[in-house]
Amino acid sequence: MSAAGVESAPSRQRRPARPRRSPWAYVSVIAFLALTWWAGSDRFGIGFSVPELIENATRAGGIVSDFLDPQWIYWTALIGPFIETFQMAVIGGVIGCSIALVVAFLASKVTTPNTAAYLADKALLNILRALPDILYALVFVAAVGIGPLAGIIALILFNIGVVAKLLSETVDGVDLGPSEAAQAAGGNRFQQIRAAVFPQVLPNYLAFSLYTFELNLRASTVLGIVGAGGIGTLINVERAAFRYDRIAVIIVAIFVIVFVVESISIALRRRLV
């Protein structure tokens, strides 16, 4: 009797064996480390080094101390360029989002049963989205000249890419019932979309548009760096003159404005959807 009790107790207390790790886990860890070493090394990659960073950042005098001592009075010079940045964001946003509305319905199977048209639109959107906005600006500055026009065109294309993709995915997921009802009542394709699909995606459309306005504001602060108007133009000027005390003011101003607009936009989007 006592023998049985002694025997069973230790066996019950024994820990279950750890599950075996898949060999893929080791392979992926090694691949990860090798890639990182390759990308970070001085010889093949970017030459990442923490000591160098600390040494440079703590070096006394020069640009870093300029940065930390901003010329605050400079903010008055920022008002004009910031208004331009806003104008670009609004114009590019309104035109871009309006075009995106049409493009989005063409990029969803629900509203565009024609496979060729649907696939062509989808491919166009993918290419449009593969390139960053500032790259568009770089090309358009060469095409239409330096100034906000190039930036506005870049923002229009950028917004079509973002809103049309997001909205077409929303259209893919709509309830088909109302659309069928509209068709049964004799509505043509446009009427079906207008009366049955559009109302379903309207809140999302508004949310996406607000979101792109926010993205626009952020993007149009940097478009000026390539000459496409807005506050970025000023960054380029001051950078060429090594006025890092002024650049610090510009960065703080961009930060404040983007931060405020984003907070408003997030609050509005939460109410919308």
Binding site: I134, Q200, A219
Partner: protein
């Protein structure tokens, strides 16, 4: 029966009154005023917008009709540098954002503590990478290192925010279990929280890597390394035949990496019962906070 029939028929044949449209009208008017105000005051002749397509088409033809393929080697080398920048920058952001994400999650940290960390993360996110790169160049010098620092710093903000929201959505069960057997705080985090959120967080890292590739492709415009440098040079010198090669390399590289990365992401998250969060969800619910899901169908209140 007859008593009931007549009134219902009478009511249902009258058209219901149109809902008031005051709010929508106000919104449309505000939007129109905003747009017209901007369009009329901006120092641009907006009719030139109509000429733009022709000018752009001309350049597209120059770019892609006869690309100068001798530039391919330099373009690929620079694109590789952009990928390196994105990789190291993402790792930097991932490592530094993880502890911050725990500190920013309301269910793990005290209320004031999480609010402070959350605002810090928002602040980091508000500055575009290109501007951060401009700030880093005087500190670490021209080149890829500055770009990496800019991408790494910006990624801390976005990754920290996404990861903290994932932590806020955990099942409290394992945390309670770990606490009930007397686990210290760190052990609760390690065994109660981390295993639940790690797949989602790793997927966020990969998603960020895809975005960072795009960012790293343009950093060269300000001299922070990568393919943007070569591209902006060719465009400044109007070598459109070469610029075309750069654009092709960027598009191919980003599309290829997106495809691989999104497959890995799906493998990591799929299999579990968690739905894959799309970009659209992040937008509509205000960067990941849970709200009513429009994809799940119409709101029952709409039928009331």
């Amino acid at each position: 029966m007859t008593k009931l029939d007549t009134p219902i028929a009478a009511v249902s044949q009258a058209r219901p009154r149109r809902p008031r449209a005051t709010g929508r009208l106000l919104l449309n008017a505000a939007l129109a005023v905003l747009f017209l105000g901007a369009a009329l005051t901006v120092e641009v002749d907006l009719t030139r917008l109509l000429e733009a397509p022709a000018a752009i088409w001309r350049i597209l033809v120059l770019m892609f009709s006869a690309p100068d393929w001798s530039e391919l080697e330099r373009a690929s080398g620079l694109m590789l540098e952009s990928i390196h920048i994105a990789w190291i920058g993402t790792i930097m952001g991932a490592i530094l954002s993880l502890p911050l994400a725990f500190l920013a999650a309301k269910n793990v940290t005290s209320r004031t503590g999480s609010t402070v960390v959350r605002q810090v993360l928002n602040a980091i996110r508000a500055v575009p990478e290109l501007i951060l790169a401009i700030a880093f160049i005087p500190i670490v010098g021209l080149g890829a290192f500055a770009g990496t620092m800019a991408i790494g710093l910006h990624s801390i903000g976005t990754l920290g925010k996404l990861a903290s929201e994932a932590i806020e959505g955990i099942d409290p069960g394992p945390v309670e279990a770990a606490t009930s057997v007397g686990a210290p705080r760190m052990a609760v985090m390690r065994w109660g929280v981390l295993p639940q959120v790690l797949p989602e967080i790793v997927a966020f890292w990969l998603y960020r890597f895809e975005i960072n590739i795009r960012a790293a492709a343009i950093l060269g415009i300000v001299g922070a390394g990568g393919i943007g440098e070569g591209l902006s040079q060719t465009i400044i010198y109007r070598r459109w035949d070469r610029a075309g090669v750069y654009v092709i390399v960027i598009v191919l590289a980003t599309v290829a990496i997106d495809a691989v990365s999104s497959r890995i992401r799906r493998r990591i998250i799929g299999g579990g019962d968690r739905a894959i969060k799309t970009e659209a969800d992040m937008v509509t619910d205000g960067h990941g906070q849970s709200g009513p899901d429009p994809a799940k169908g119409p709101n029952p209140r709409d039928f009331g």
